[in-house]
């Protein structure tokens, strides 16, 4: 490799990425000296679309923010709406919600394990974990009718009850998955090439994790003990006992161990939920119009803390919905983790935050193509800049303004 600097663009279309996103790497040999992330290829205007639809319609729209953690987003949104409306969701409804969210965590973490394997060229791991992921997908389909986008939530509770016949099926699947996960823990800790590729890659110290605002398994693998389920319990997490998995490796290997540990915890949680689930109604009747008010809801999605803000104005449509997907909090961390790393580690470091770019793309960042600056302009500066730019093109606004004024005066 020549020792001069090379610019390598990864994305928006690249086999590494499952969704369009652009990473501009500056390379010296195989080493990365600089990196820029450009978001915004997947902006779908979901927040704006929410304002034009009723709460019930929004619920299904918000569920489609993410294809993997769909239940996370819909639950997070509904918690905010229920808080504004002052609804008391029945216990059984909350238990079912929590059950689905833990099953979703299992399916998301198994998916991540496979993707991580693929990114480091270990396709066997991908094939094995995705085969096992089918088991939990089948259970989700059994309970909700769908493999993804479950449509289980409704304002005031859940839409489907769990029958007594379904419980043994869930438990036996969980037993199988626990066995398989134990095997993956073995593979992860003993396979030499896997450890070689994951250890010491994408270092993120505890201080940096806190400073850059990392969330979820990314933060927990740097020793930050932060989990919404534990710190600010929602649904029925306050009644369940579980450990927050942290790790001190502070690298991709640590993130793998955290996710494997969370899988084991999730199996425990599912068993607890099924054991403790009370009898009773699953839903309360919700008003069509939500009273004016606002609420913020937090939710520990598989990828980290998900935040939804809802502002209601008394009608049947929200005035404002804001979604902060966990990837947005983690994507800044990626640039930090990649610095002085190897090109070969780029895929796994990016994959290690379990990115979900289409969930993230909400804000639009602007870059000045002349000088590469990304800072924002205030209104007067933008106005002068615009006037200058047009006068360079030969369009003089002073002249146009004068003409406009004379036209108005003559009228």
């Amino acid at each position: 490799m020549p020792e001069r600097e090379v610019k390598l663009t990864i994305g928006p279309q690249h086999p590494m990425l499952k969704e369009p996103e652009s990473f501009l790497l500056t390379l010296r040999g195989e080493k990365i000296t600089d990196m820029t992330v450009r978001l915004g290829y997947n902006h779908r205007g979901i927040e704006k679309a929410c304002e034009g639809r009723t709460y019930i319609q929004d619920m299904y729209l918000v569920e489609r923010v993410c294809g993997i953690c769909s239940h996370s987003h819909s639950t997070c949104f509904i918690q905010a709406v229920e808080e504004i409306a002052g609804l008391q969701v029945p216990k059984r409804g909350l238990y079912i919600r929590t059950l689905i969210s833990e099953l979703e965590r299992i399916h998301s973490h198994l998916l991540w394990l496979g993707v991580a394997g693929h990114e480091i060229g270990f396709d066997t791991l991908l094939m094995y974990t995705w085969r096992d992921r089918e088991l939990v997908m089948d259970i989700l389909a059994l309970l909700t009718g769908n493999r993804v986008n479950y449509g289980m939530n409704t304002i005031g509770g859940v839409r489907r009850d769990i029958t007594a016949e379904q419980i043994p099926q869930i438990l036996s699947t969980i037993d199988t998955l626990e066995e398989r996960t134990k095997y993956y823990v073995q593979v992860g800790t003993q396979e030499i090439t896997l450890r070689e590729r994951l250890s010491g890659v994408g270092k993120l110290s505890k201080e940096d994790a806190i400073h850059l605002g990392a969330v979820g398994p990314t933060a927990r693998a740097s020793g930050v003990n932060r989990d919404v389920r534990h710190d600010d319990p929602y649904a029925v997490y306050g009644e369940l006992s579980f450990n927050v998995i942290t790790d001190d490796h502070s690298d991709v290997y640590g993130r793998t161990l955290v996710r494997l540990g969370e899988l084991m915890e999730a199996y425990k949680l599912v068993r607890q939920i099924l054991k403790q689930m009370p009898e009773g109604p699953i839903v309360v009747k919700a008003p069509r119009k939500i009273p004016a008010g606002q609420a913020i809801s937090r939710y520990e999605a598989p990828r980290g803390e998900d935040v939804h803000y809802v502002k209601a104005n008394g009608s049947d449509k929200p005035e404002r919905v804001k979604v902060r997907a966990p990837t947005l909090a983690n994507v800044q961390v990626v640039a930090h983790m990649l610095k002085d790393g190897y090109l070969a580690d780029t895929p796994i470091v990016i994959a290690a935050i379990d990115p979900c770019f289409s969930c993230t793309d909400r804000a639009i960042a602007t870059t000045n193509i002349d000088n590469g600056r990304t800072d924002r302009m205030d209104w007067p500066t933008l106005r002068t800049y615009g006037i200058d730019w047009y006068s360079k093109q030969g369009i003089d606004f002073a002249e146009l303004n004068r003409k406009l004024r004379t036209m108005r005066e003559s009228n």
């Binding site: 090379v6 060229g121 085969r131 396979e191 590729r197 070969a344």
Partner: protein
């Protein structure tokens, strides 16, 4: 004249190696799939891929050096085919054999890697250039262990000819067992030569798309892929001839069947190796080759020297 043409184009030349190469690719992919708990492709998949690619348009990048870009797949294939003519298949004697053909075969097997480098480098695409540079970096890491591990049995047999080596090992069957370490080393080095996991660094899909082959399409890519399949067969044949030279005295038919079995065994080992490990990083690969594999190859060499001294 007709016989020479038959040898070059049909058996054991182009048609045979192409068919065997495609079969080898199928067996490799099928084994890989079965070990990964998948169904795998049908038997004609490699051939179907080849036909489909051949029917597609060749796109030569605007900045690429057209001549080099178009020549490289053909050079890769011809050098591999030439190397195959020196492989003993139905007995201890190859179609062409002379004193020193082992060196020629090793040399001819280095040429394809150089063509990947040149083809990638002259594509003038950033992914291809990084892939090309990686191919060449990797070449320097695995060639020495491969040479040393093949040199050891050659030195034991006191010849530079593949055919004479087979004769020697057939009369001294115990000597095959002396080179087991060398066989393992050669398999690992062959993984590097064939650019397969864990050494598929030059064409790491998730990093640099397809490495040196990123810009290749249509017929040119089809030829390159066929050349890689053939390289798999020739590499496996070389290892079979050097490290598994037994059972060559039962006539041509049995010898040929045994040769196929040996080659498939080597291909099976390669599939197994690429199933159970992850891709290494280029620096890890070079460290591994120089610090672990090369010293072990030296060890094998010295061991063979001692054995030779002791038995003389």
């Amino acid at each position: 004249m007709t016989e020479a043409l038959f040898n070059i184009f049909v058996f054991p030349g182009f048609l045979f190696v192409a068919a065997f190469g495609l079969t080898a690719e199928y067996i490799d992919r099928k084994l890989y799939a079965l070990m990964q708990n998948r169904v795998g492709p049908p038997w004609f998949q490699p051939l179907a891929d080849f036909i489909k690619l051949s029917a597609k348009e060749d796109v030569v990048p605007q900045n690429a050096d057209t001549l080099v870009f178009k020549m490289m797949p053909i050079i890769a294939m011809t050098s591999i085919l030439t190397a195959f003519l020196y492989m003993p298949m139905w007995g201890s004697k190859a179609l062409f054999a002379f004193k020193g053909d082992l060196v020629v075969v090793i040399y001819l097997l280095t040429v394809p890697t150089l063509t990947y480098f040149l083809g990638g480098w002259y594509s003038r695409s950033i992914y291809s250039m990084i892939g090309a540079a990686r191919s060449l970096t990797q070449l320097f890491a695995y060639e020495i262990p491969l040479f040393l591990s093949i040199l050891a049995p050659a030195m034991l047999a006191d010849t530079w000819s593949l055919s004479e080596m087979s004769v020697y090992f057939n009369t001294h069957p115990w000597a095959i067992l002396c080179n087991l370490l060398g066989f393992v080393i050669a398999i690992i080095a062959l993984l590097g030569k064939l650019e397969k996991v864990p050494f598929d660094i030059p064409e790491a899909e998730t990093e640099i798309v397809a490495g040196a082959f990123t810009e290749y399409s249509g017929r040119l890519l089809a030829i390159f892929r066929l050349a890689i399949d053939m390289e798999l067969v020739v590499g496996a044949s070389l290892l079979a001839a050097v490290f598994l030279p037994f059972g060559l005295n039962y006539g041509p038919a049995a010898g040929f069947a045994l040769y196929i079995v040996k080659v498939l065994f080597v291909i099976g080992l390669i599939s197994l190796a690429r199933t159970i490990v992850a891709r290494l990083r280029i620096d890890q690969m070079i460290n591994f080759c120089w610090k672990v594999i090369a010293p072990l190859a030296f060890l094998q060499f010295i061991a063979d020297l001692i054995i030779k001294g002791a038995t003389r």
